[in-house]
Symmetry: C2
Subunit: 695 residues, 2 copies
C-alpha cells in the first residue's frame, strides 16, 4: 500500500487539536468518525483534556502509542507546521491540514506554505486549506464538512476530487439528496503536495470507482494531469470536470482562493478535449453526467424514444435533445404495432414520438410493455421516460415499471421528472435510472455518453523525429526573411523568397521567381511596413527597378531610415487564408489555428491544441484542429469552391508544432499570418510571419 | 366583468361529466374545488348519480338551476361539443374543455374543433385539450391536474400561462416545493378561442399579478400578442417566456402536440426582444427570473457583492456572474472598514469579494452587520448571499439574518444554496430572498432584472408616411434593372444604372456614369449571370463596346440565348458589404440584415426584426439591427478603419422595410445582396438584388 492508499483508507487516525465540542470545527472530525462507524483506531491529541467522546486523548503527538496512518491536523496555520513536522518524525504516512492562512492569502502565507512542505519531508500532505476527504466506500470521514451531519449517504461508483472544500460538502449532500452513490470525495485545495492528478491516478486503480468527477480551479502540472487522464481513459473510467475561471471575475477569484496561476480557459477547453476529459458546462452536469456514465450502459447512436403520459413535458425533452443533435423518430411498424396492442381504448397516440400513453396509460403492465417494446426496437438507441404529476402522489409507479426491464437491454434509460417530485426521482436513480429535474439534463447526460463513446486517444507526434534548431539561430525579433528561413528549416512550406540589396538584384530575383512578385522592405526597426510604403504587390520584372527605387524614397521620407535590404516573394493567390500561431500558456505550449483576415477576431474563429511537453501534434490532431474552425466549410468545398489541400495544411501544422517543440523555451513568439491553403494537390504556403527568440 | 374575469373567478361552476371517483380524471375537479375551499356554487352534471361528494348532481345541463359562470366539460371529444352547445344556449359565460382528440390529432380532429367553436357561439372557450386553470389568488382550481393533490400552495404575484397542460402542473408543484407564490395558472392548449395574448392582456389588469410567465409552443396571432406585451411593459409587469421549438425535433413535436404552425425560432427570438419579453433559455429560468422580478427590487448597475462562508461556492457564483458581464469588485475603503470591525479574529478575509466570513462568521449579528454594510455600500448594485453546508442543519440562520435588512435597501438580494438544503432555500424565498440551487441561476436572475431595466419600447415607423407602390408594378421575378428601380422608388439608395440595348448606348452610359463601371447581362431566363460570362467589372468607356460584344458572344454560346439588354452600373468600392433581405414567417414579415460574402452563412452573422402588421422599422430599430451583427465592429471603425455611414445604412433599412410594408402580400421575395455601406458621409448603395412579386 502506498501513502495515498493509507491516506484514503487508514486503519489509524490521529486527530491533532481535537475539541470536545462537536459544534466546533475542531470537534467535528472525531464526532464524524464515530458517527459514521470508522472501525480503526482514533487518537485525539489535545493537552487540555483527558478524553473526547469516551476516547483516550493524548497530550502531544510525541505521546501517541504509535505512528498513525493519517494525522488530521486541526490547528491554526503556524502550529500546524510544528504538528506536521512531529507527525513526519513519528513516521506517519500522510497528514491532512485544514487550516487556512497559507499561499491562498498571499504575502506571508507563501512562506508558511513553504515551511509546511519542508516540515512534511517525505510524508505526504493533503491541503492545506482543505476540508479533508470522505471515503464513502469504507465509511471513513476525515473531514470537518458540515455535510457529514447527515445520518447516512449512499456508497456508489462516482469519485469526486475537488480543489474547493466547500464544493465537497455540496456534492456530498446533493448526491445524497438525489440517491446518488459516491465512492471517495477528496478536497485538494492548496495542493502543497498531493494534487488532483495524483488522486485521479490512484482512483483509476480503485475497484470501487468507475467514474471520476473533478472540480477544477487550476491544473498545476498539465503533463502529470495528462498522464493520469489518459490512464483513466485507457481503463475505461471516464473523467468529468467542471472548471471555473471561465470569466475574468471567476479566474481572479479562483486565483485568490487557492493561490494558483490560472491558464486561459480556452486552453483548458482544448486540453480537456485532447485528453478525453468531458467538461461539465453547468454545475449540475458535474453530478448528472457521472451519474449517467456510472450506469455502464451503451449509447450506439443518436435516436431517442421518449415515453410520456404528459404531452408538454415530452415535447420539452424532445426539443432539448434536438438542440444536442439527437433525433426522436417515430416508432417503426413492428414497434408501433406492439405499442398499439397495449392500448386501452382512449386517446393515446402511440405511433408518434414522444410516445404518449396519456394518464390512462399509467398502469404498471402497460408501462412495462411499452418500455420493453421501445428497448427492443431497432429504431432507438436510448429511452427517456417522463414522470408526470402522478409522480407526486405515486412515486413508486415508474421505478417499479422500469426496474424489471433494465436487465434485458444495455441501452441507456433516463428519466425526466416534470413536477417537483424528489422522492420519485431518488427512487428511479437508486433503481439505476438516472432521473433529472431539468429537461436540459437529459440531453447533457446522453451527450456525455456519446462523447465517451466517440473519444479516441490522441496519437501524438513522436518525440524522436524532431528536427534540431539551425546552428545559426538568431536571437530577438527576426525579420521576415529570417522567419521564413526558420519556418522552412522545420518543414513548413513557404512562399519562395529572395533577399536583395539593389534594384538590379531585385529584377533578377523577380525573373527567377517568375510571374508577378511582391516586394517587401526588410527591416527590424520598421514594424508596420505597409503603412510606410514598404510593401508593393503584383510587381513584374519590368517595373521592379522603378518600384524598388520608389519604395526606397517613400520609406526614407516617412521613417527617416533608408532601407538597404528587400524581400522579393512569389505571389500566392487562389487559396484560403489562415493564421497559424503559438502561445505559451501556464498549461504549456499552445498551437492556434485561426480564420484569416478579420474573421479570427470578429467571429472568434480559432481552434487550439496544447502540446504535450516536448512533443508535437499528430497529423490526425492537426486535421481535427482545422475541422474545428467555424470556417472549415471554406476549406471543404463550400458552395462549389474547389476543396483546399487540407493534407498540406495538416503537414504545415505538424511541422510548425515540431518547430515549437524543438525550440522549447527559446521560442517567445511565432505566428504565420497568412498561410495560404491552395486547392487540393497544390499545397500550402506561409506568406508572412513573426518570430521572436530568446537565448 | 368580462368573460375572462368570470372564467378566472367564477361564483358558480358546472362540472359536466363529473365522476364520483376522485381517482379518475373526471372525479378530480369537484374534489379539488372542495379540497381547496372554493366558496361558490358547484353543479356536478352526471345522469347516472344523485350526488357527488355530498353535492346534488344534475342529470343534464338543461336541468341546471341557472346558467353557471363556467362550465368545466370533462366529456370525450364528440360529447363535449354537445355539452358546449347546451352551455352556450343556457347563457354560460365560458367553458373549459379538457378532452383531447381535436386539432392536435390532425385529420378528423380539425373538423371536431371547428364544430366545437361553432357550438360555443359567443360563449368564450378555454381549450380544448387543456388541463384547465388554477386561480391561486382566490383558491379556485378549475383543473384535473394531479399537482392539485398537494394540500396547499402559496399565493403570490406570478401568473403563468401555458400552451401545455402538463407544464401547468409541473410549475404549480415546482413553485410550491420552493415556496414561490403564484397568482393564476392557465393552460390554453389548442386555443380554439382564447389564446395566450388574451390572458396576458387580462393579467396586466389583475392586481394580484406583477409578473407574467409564459410557456409557448407557437404564437397564433403575433400582432395581438404584441399589443398585449407592450401593454404589460407599459404597466411595468414584465413577461418572461420559455419557448420550445428551438430544435427541428422540438418544433415538430410542438406542432403535433397542439396543432399549431410554428414560426422560425430565430424569429421568435427577435420578436420577443422587440416587444420586451424576456426569453428564458433554460426551463428552470421560467421560475427563477419571474421570482426575482416579482420582488420589485431595482438593479442600477452591474457590480455584485458576494457574501459567503465557503470560498468555493463564492467563486463558483462569481465566475458565473462574470460570464454574464457582471462585476465583483472588492469593497471600498469605508465598507472594508465596516466589515473588518465585525471580524472575530480568525482567518476571514473581509476586504475581498467574495467576502468570506468563514464558518466562524456564521453568527446572526455578524451576518446582519455584513449584509447592511454591503447594501449600504456605493460599490455594489446587488448582493448575493451564499448558504453553505450549515444550511442543512441550520436552515433558519440566513433567512433570519437577512430579513431585517431588506426594508433598508431596494437593491436586489439573492441567495445561492450550495448544499442540498431545500428547507433553507424555501425559507429564504418565502422571506423575499430568491434562493437558487444552481449557481448559473444567480446570473440569469440578475440578467433578467437588467434586461427589464434596459428595455425600451420600440418607436416603430409611422404607418401613414408609407410610399405607395409604383403604378406599373411588374409581377413575377424582376430583372436587376426592375429590382433596382423598385428599391429606388421606395427610397433605398442604389448604385446608378443605365439599361442599354447596344454597344453604342453602353459606351454612352459608361461615359455618363463616369470612371469604371460594371456591365451586366439583363435577363429573366438566365439566373447565374457570372457563370455564363454575363458580368464584367471595371469596364472603361474605351473598352465598353468590345466588352459588350464579347459578352454577347460568350452568353450566346453558353446558353443558346442571344442577350439583347444590358445593365451599365457604377462601380462601388471601399465600403463594407452587407445583405439586406426579407422573409415571410408564420409570425409575420421579417427584415434580415447579414454580413456580406460568406460570413452570413459560415458565421451565422444575421440579425432580424419582425415588422408590425403594415408598419415599418424605426431608425432606432434599424440601428439596433446593425449593432446586433457580430461584424458590427467592421462598421464601427475596427482597427483604424474609417467608420461606415451607419446613418445611411439605417435609412436604407427603414426604406426597405417601408417597401415590404407597402407591398404587403404582393411581395414574395426581396433581397439586396450586396448593399455597400461607404465611409461616413458617403452613403450606402444597393448593388444587386432580387425581387419576386405576385398579384
Amino acid at each position: 500500500m502506498n501513502a495515498i492508499s493509507h491516506l484514503l483508507a487508514p486503519r489509524s487516525v490521529a486527530v491533532v487539536g481535537a475539541s470536545t465540542d462537536p459544534a466546533k470545527t475542531a470537534g467535528k472530525p472525531v464526532h464524524f468518525l464515530r458517527k459514521h462507524g470508522f472501525t480503526g483506531e482514533i487518537f485525539p491529541v489535545n493537552p487540555r483534556v483527558e478524553t473526547i467522546d469516551g476516547l483516550r486523548c493524548y497530550p502531544s503527538i510525541a505521546a501517541l502509542p504509535k505512528a498513525p496512518h493519517v494525522g488530521l491536523v486541526l490547528l491554526g496555520a503556524e502550529r500546524a507546521i510544528t504538528a506536521v513536522r512531529e507527525l513526519a518524525e513519528l513516521g506517519t504516512k500522510a497528514a491532512i491540514v485544514l487550516a487556512s492562512g497559507y499561499a491562498e492569502v498571499g504575502g506571508d502565507g507563501h512562506r508558511r506554505q513553504a515551511d509546511l512542505i519542508a516540515a512534511a519531508g517525505s510524508m505526504r500532505l493533503l491541503g492545506p486549506n482543505t476540508i479533508g476527504l470522505v471515503n464513502v466506500t469504507d465509511r471513513i470521514p476525515l473531514s470537518a464538512s458540515g455535510a457529514l451531519d447527515m445520518d447516512d449517504f449512499a456508497a456508489g461508483p462516482i469519485a469526486f476530487v475537488s480543489q474547493s472544500g466547500g464544493i465537497l460538502g455540496s456534492m456530498l449532500s446533493r448526491a445524497s439528496g438525489r440517491g446518488i452513490g459516491l465512492s471517495k470525495l477528496i478536497s485538494t485545495s492548496n495542493e502543497a503536495d498531493l494534487e488532483v492528478a495524483d488522486f485521479v491516478d490512484h482512483l483509476v486503480d480503485d475497484p470501487a470507482t468507475s467514474v471520476i468527477a473533478l472540480y477544477i480551479e487550476s491544473i498545476r502540472d498539465a503533463d502529470r494531469f495528462r498522464r493520469a487522464a489518459l490512464k483513466a481513459a485507457a481503463a475505461g473510467k471516464p473523467i468529468v470536470a467542471y472548471k471555473i475561471g471561465r470569466s475574468e471575475a471567476g479566474a481572479q477569484a479562483a486565483v485568490s482562493h487557492t493561490g494558483a496561476l490560472a491558464g486561459s480557459d480556452k486552453t483548458y477547453d482544448a486540453f480537456f478535449r485532447q485528453v478525453g476529459v468531458i467538461r461539465a458546462e453547468n454545475f449540475s452536469d458535474l453530478l448528472d453526467i457521472p451519474l449517467t456514465l456510472s450506469k455502464g450502459r451503451k449509447l450506439r447512436g443518436k435516436r431517442v424514444a421518449i415515453l410520456t403520459s404528459t404531452g408538454g413535458a415530452g415535447t420539452l425533452v424532445s426539443d432539448n435533445l434536438g438542440l444536442y443533435g439527437f433525433e426522436t423518430p417515430p416508432p417503426d411498424a413492428v414497434t408501433a404495432a406492439r405499442l398499439r396492442a397495449l392500448q386501452t381504448g382512449d386517446q393515446a397516440v402511440l405511433d408518434r414520438n414522444p410516445i404518449d400513453v396519456t394518464l390512462a396509460g399509467l398502469q404498471p403492465e402497460l408501462l412495462r410493455g411499452a418500455i420493453e417494446a421501445l428497448l427492443d426496437s431497432p429504431t432507438y438507441d436510448a429511452l427517456t421516460i417522463i414522470v408526470g404529476s402522478s409522480g407526486v402522489a405515486n412515486p413508486e409507479l415508474m421505478a417499479g415499471a422500469i426496474a424489471p426491464c433494465l436487465p434485458k437491454s444495455d441501452k441507456p434509460v433516463l428519466a425526466y421528472v416534470s413536477p417537483h417530485a424528489p422522492q420519485a426521482a431518488a427512487l428511479l436513480t437508486s433503481h439505476d435510472v438516472p432521473a433529472f429535474s431539468a429537461p436540459e439534463s437529459c440531453a447533457v447526460a446522453l451527450d456525455g455518453l456519446r462523447r465517451v463513446a466517440q473519444w479516441q486517444a490522441p496519437l501524438s507526434g513522436a518525440k524522436q523525429d524532431q528536427i534540431s534548431p539551425p546552428a545559426d539561430l538568431a536571437i530577438g525579433s527576426l525579420d521576415e526573411a529570417q522567419a521564413n528561413a526558420l519556418f522552412a528549416h522545420f518543414g513548413v512550406p513557404c512562399a519562395r523568397v529572395r533577399v536583395v540589396a539593389s534594384a538590379a538584384e531585385a529584377e533578377a530575383a523577380a525573373r527567377e521567381l517568375g510571374g508577378r512578385v511582391a516586394l517587401k522592405l526588410l527591416s527590424k526597426e520598421i514594424t508596420h511596413k505597409s503603412d510606410v510604403g514598404g510593401v508593393i504587390v503584383n510587381v513584374t520584372p519590368e517595373t521592379m527597378q522603378d518600384d524598388l527605387k520608389r519604395m526606397t524614397a517613400d520609406v526614407t521620407v516617412k521613417t527617416g531610415i533608408k532601407p538597404s535590404r528587400f524581400l522579393v516573394q512569389e505571389m500566392v493567390s487562389g487559396g484560403t487564408e489562415l493564421i497559424l500561431g503559438f502561445k505559451r500558456d501556464p498549461l504549456g505550449a499552445v498551437i492556434l489555428l485561426g480564420a484569416g483576415g478579420t474573421a479570427t477576431e470578429i467571429f472568434k474563429d480559432t481552434a487550439m491544441r496544447l502540446l504535450p511537453a516536448g512533443g508535437t501534434l499528430s497529423t490526425v490532431e492537426a486535421l481535427e484542429l482545422a475541422r474545428e474552425l467555424k470556417s472549415w466549410p471554406l476549406l471543404d468545398g463550400y458552395r462549389g469552391r474547389p476543396k483546399a489541400d487540407v493534407d498540406a495544411l495538416a503537414a504545415a501544422i505538424v511541422a510548425f508544432s515540431g518547430m515549437v517543440a524543438s525550440l522549447g523555451e527559446r521560442l517567445v513568439e511565432a505566428e504565420i499570418n497568412p498561410i495560404f491553403v491552395l486547392p487540393q494537390g497544390r499545397g500550402a504556403r506561409a506568406a508572412d510571419g513573426v518570430v521572436v527568440l530568446q537565448s
